[in-house]
Amino acid sequence: MRSVDFVFAFICVFSGLVLVSSRLGPSYARLCAASVSLFLPRASLSGGVGLELAAGSADFVGSPWQVSLLVTRGGVLLEAIPIDARSLCFLPLLAFTALVVATPQIRPRRKLGLVLLGVPLLQLVLLALTAAPVLSFLGGTGPVTARALPLGVHVALQVLYRGLVAPPGMAYALPLLAWWGSCAPRRCLVGAERNGLALSDESRYTGGR
């Protein structure tokens, strides 16, 4: 019953956050574009390739949550890579927040602290993971090469992207793992041991045999 209560609480909080934040698309896209722009090189890369992030784009009849990475050379637009900030970044943040808020037996003050610390950290991780395929694309696997990267780096970037970003379930699995690592383990260990599940004692599983 406790699991059912938690799941119900999570669904309520998550749904409420999604409904309340439905109009935040343009603002959040601008925030993401501004955050990542801090890490973009100011000078042109090899071959005169320039990178710029824009929230939304006049070229796309797309979602208000869209961030576009504009690849230019000599002022001419070569590629416009659309990035959906909602599914890649925003929904995972809401999922993490809802998990923390829905967790029982944690003081509200600690929940607030976890959200205030966890959301920005998770945002940074998600932005870095979202950048992985873009770096690979601009590093030699795409039609435009901004800076050539070694094969090993491409492999690592593609594995990160295909394993942690591309699967739609990862948008919720990553915040679930972050929640587990930040506020669930102590409770779950206590609860698990009460149910006979010891994470360190194999003899518990063999009944002492």
Binding site: S3, V7, F14, S87, L91, A95, T141, L151, H154, V155, Q158, V159, Y161, R162, G163, L164, A166, P167, P168, G169, M170, A171, Y172, A173, L176, G181, P185, R186, L189, A192, N195, G196, L197, A198, L199, S200, D201, E202, R204, Y205, T206, G207
Partner: protein
């Protein structure tokens, strides 16, 4: 340095799940592969989902990874919810328990998750037929959440007790 019990589980989990995910996500085409090594697996999955759909709609047919019918569906990577299966299996395998105990739970859990995923594909087909405007939201946001939640709940339920009715059976 002796790690805390939760940390030992976390390290084992990261290694197992990370290894399996890396294998699933490996870019073989960067090493000259001209076809997807998982093509056969995806075709088999499409046949299973198509077979289930045919129970409800005789117009459904399967060609390779394409489920054809009133609303065609292409079974691509990630349609098999491999990430959820890997995360679930990795969590069970990382537990300090006898291998028979763990393998039994992995098999049961994966059967449950695969069944749920086939049901998801069937639901997406009929959503595409009757409510196409809902398809994107259900496909990319709602159903992935449901599958991850099911994976987490399956882990909690199947690993609840070390000696349970499953072992007695």
């Amino acid at each position: 340095m002796r790690l805390a019990r939760g940390s030992r589980f976390a390290v084992r989990y990261a290694l197992i799940a990370g290894g399996l995910l890396s294998l699933y996500a490996f870019p073989f085409e960067l090493f000259g592969a001209t076809s997807d090594p998982l093509e056969g697996y995806l075709q088999a999955f499409a046949r299973i989902a198509g077979g289930a759909l045919r129970l409800f709609d005789a117009a459904v047919s399967v060609r390779g990874t394409l489920i054809d019918g009133r609303f065609p569906l292409q079974v691509a990577r990630n349609c098999d919810a491999a990430e959820v299966n890997i995360l679930f299996a990795g969590a069970v395998l990382a537990l300090p328990a006898p291998w028979r105990w763990k393998l039994l739970r992995v098999v049961i859990g994966l059967c449950l998750l695969v069944t749920a995923n086939v049901a998801r594909i069937c639901a997406l087909y009929f959503v595409g037929v009757y409510r196409a405007s809902w398809f994107r939201s259900l496909h990319e946001e709602v159903f992935p959440l449901a599958l991850v939640a099911l994976g987490a709940l399956s882990f909690v339920a199947l690993t609840r007790s070390p000696t349970s009715e499953l072992d007695a059976a």
